[in-house]
Symmetry: C2
Subunit: 286 residues, 2 copies
C-alpha cells in the first residue's frame, strides 16, 4: 500500500465536507481528484484550488485511485460503496465521511475482497453547505473517528490515520456501534434540541417583533446547529434511529426533572442541581 | 435632570455585568463609583481601571449619585431598592440590570416619590462571573431593554437611554410583562435545555472516555449557557417561573413531535419539518 504522498486520492462529493477535505489534502498527496454530479461544482472546486482534477464520471474518477473517500450523505454512501467497489484497483482504500457508522460498516463488510474498507467520521462541520462553503481549515484540531472492519489491513488503517493527520485532525479508532451510541448524544441530540428550540420560538415569541431585537448569544448558540444541512441530517436520523431515540428518552427525563425543579421552586435544591451541572460543563470544556 | 456627562453614576455590585458597565461608562460621565461587599472587589475594580472610586459602604456610595444602577441578582435588587431609595438625592435615577422585570417593576412602584425608577436588562453576558471577568466590550451591539413605570419621567427615561447608548448598546423600551414573556423563551429556556443536555451526557456517554475526544462544536455550543452563573440563574428561575414553565411546556411538545418524527422515519415528512425549521433559523439570524 502506497504512502499518502504517493497516492491519488479521489473524493466523491464536493460539498462542505468533501470539498474541505480535498483542499486540505491537496499538495500532501500525489493528486486529489474530485467527483461531483454537476459540472459547475467541479469548476468551482478547480477555481478555488481544492482539487487537481475533477470529473462528473464516477468510474473515471475512481479507476486509478489509491484512496477513495465518499463524502456524500450516509444513505448515498451505502449505495455508492457497491457501485464503486468493482471499479477500484486491487488494494484500494475505500473510506467515507458519514456521521453514522454501523449501517455503513455492515455494507462495507459485503464489499469484494480486493477493496480495503475503512469507516471514517470527522467531528467537524459548519451550518453551511456546498463547495462554495468548503474550508480546508475545518479539519484542523478535530477528532477524526476511524471504524475499521475485521478485514481492514493494518496498512490500510495506517493510511487512513495518515490521511486524518495530514488534514490536521487526530485519528481515533472506535467500533462502529460505540461511535453511534456516543454521537447520538454528543452530536445528533443537540441538533434535535436546537430544532425544537427554533420551533418553540416560532410558535410563541416570534410573533412579537421585539423578540428578534432581544435575542442574545444564548439563543443563538443553543439553536445554531438547527441550521445544519437537512439532507445530511435526515440520513443521520434514519440510520442512527435507535441510539437517537434512546438519547432523546434520557434527555426528556432530564428536562422533566428540571421542570419539576422550577415548579417546586426550592432554592437550595435548585442551587445544588444547577451547580452540579455547571461544574460538569466546566469539566467537559475546561 | 443632569446629562450623563455631568452625572455621578454609582454601580452596586461589581460582578461581570456591573464591573463591565462601570468600565464602559468610565470617562463618559462625571464619575463612576463602585459599591461591592468585599474590599478586594473594589481593589480589583480600581486596579483594572473600571471605576473612579469605590466603597463597601452602600450609603456612602449612593448618597451623591445622579444615577444608581443595581447590578446584583434579581432578588437582591428587590431588597436593595427599598434599602437604597431613602438615601438617594431628589430626582435620582434608580436603575437595575436584572434579567426578569415584572417583580422588580412592582417593587419599584412602591418606592418614595423623590426617586425616578427605571427597569433595565441588557441582553448580553458570558459564562464567567466576578470582577476579574468584567469586560466593558460586552455591551457593544447588544439590546438594552428599558422598562419604565408610569411614574418614570421623560427626562429619566432619556437619561436611561443615554446610558445604554454610551456603553454601545441599543435601548429598547418594553413593558415588563412582555419582556418577561420574551426572555423566558429566548434566554431562560435555552439555559434549561443546555443544562438538560449536560445532565444527559453525564448520565450516559460521559462514562466512555472517548466521548470527550469526539465532542464537537454542536455539543459545545448547544450546552454553552449551562455554564451561566448559578446565583443569577436561580433568581431568574424563581422570579419568572410562570413564563418559564409555559415556555418549557411548548418546548416539550415540540420535542415530542420531533421524537415522533424520528420514530416514524418518514423521509418526506422529516425533510419538510426540518427544512422549515432550518429556514426559520436563517430568518432569525440572516
Amino acid at each position: 500500500m502506497k504512502r499518502l504522498t504517493d497516492a491519488q486520492v479521489t473524493i466523491v462529493g464536493l460539498g462542505l465536507m468533501g470539498g474541505s477535505l480535498a483542499g486540505a489534502l491537496r499538495g500532501q498527496c500525489w493528486a486529489v481528484v474530485g467527483v461531483a454530479r454537476r459540472a459547475e461544482t467541479i469548476e468551482t472546486a478547480l477555481a478555488r484550488g481544492l482539487i487537481d482534477r475533477g470529473t462528473t464520471d464516477l468510474a473515471d474518477g475512481v479507476r486509478e485511485a489509491d484512496v477513495v473517500v465518499l463524502a456524500t450523505p450516509v444513505r448515498v454512501i451505502m449505495r455508492q460503496l457497491h457501485e464503486i467497489a468493482p471499479l477500484l484497483p486491487e488494494g484500494c482504500l475505500l473510506m467515507d465521511l458519514g456521521s453514522t457508522k454501523s449501517q455503513i460498516v455492515a455494507e462495507m463488510a459485503r464489499l469484494p475482497d480486493h477493496v480495503q474498507p475503512l469507516g471514517g467520521h470527522p467531528m467537524c462541520g459548519k451550518e453551511v453547505s456546498g463547495v462554495e462553503a468548503a474550508d480546508p481549515a475545518i479539519y484542523r484540531g478535530c477528532t477524526f473517528i476511524l471504524t475499521p472492519l475485521p478485514r481492514t489491513s493494518e496498512a490500510a488503517l495506517a493510511l487512513g490515520r495518515e490521511l486524518a493527520e495530514a488534514v490536521g485532525a487526530s485519528p481515533l479508532v472506535l467500533e462502529a456501534e460505540r461511535q453511534d451510541f456516543l454521537v447520538a448524544t454528543v452530536s445528533h441530540l443537540p441538533y434535535l434540541l436546537a430544532c425544537a428550540l427554533v420551533a418553540t420560538a416560532d410558535a410563541t415569541t416570534s410573533a412579537d417583533p421585539a423578540a428578534w431585537e432581544i435575542v442574545a448569544g444564548g439563543f443563538r448558540d443553543t439553536s445554531r446547529v438547527a441550521g445544519s444541512d437537512v439532507t445530511m441530517m435526515v440520513d443521520i436520523l434514519l440510520t442512527n434511529r435507535a441510539e437517537i431515540l434512546k438519547a432523546l428518552d434520557v434527555y426528556q427525563a432530564q428536562l422533566r426533572s428540571l421542570t419539576r425543579l422550577v415548579e417546586a421552586g426550592d432554592e437550595e435544591e435548585m442551587r445544588d442541581v444547577l451547580s452540579t451541572i455547571r461544574a460538569k460543563r466546566k469539566e467537559m470544556f475546561p
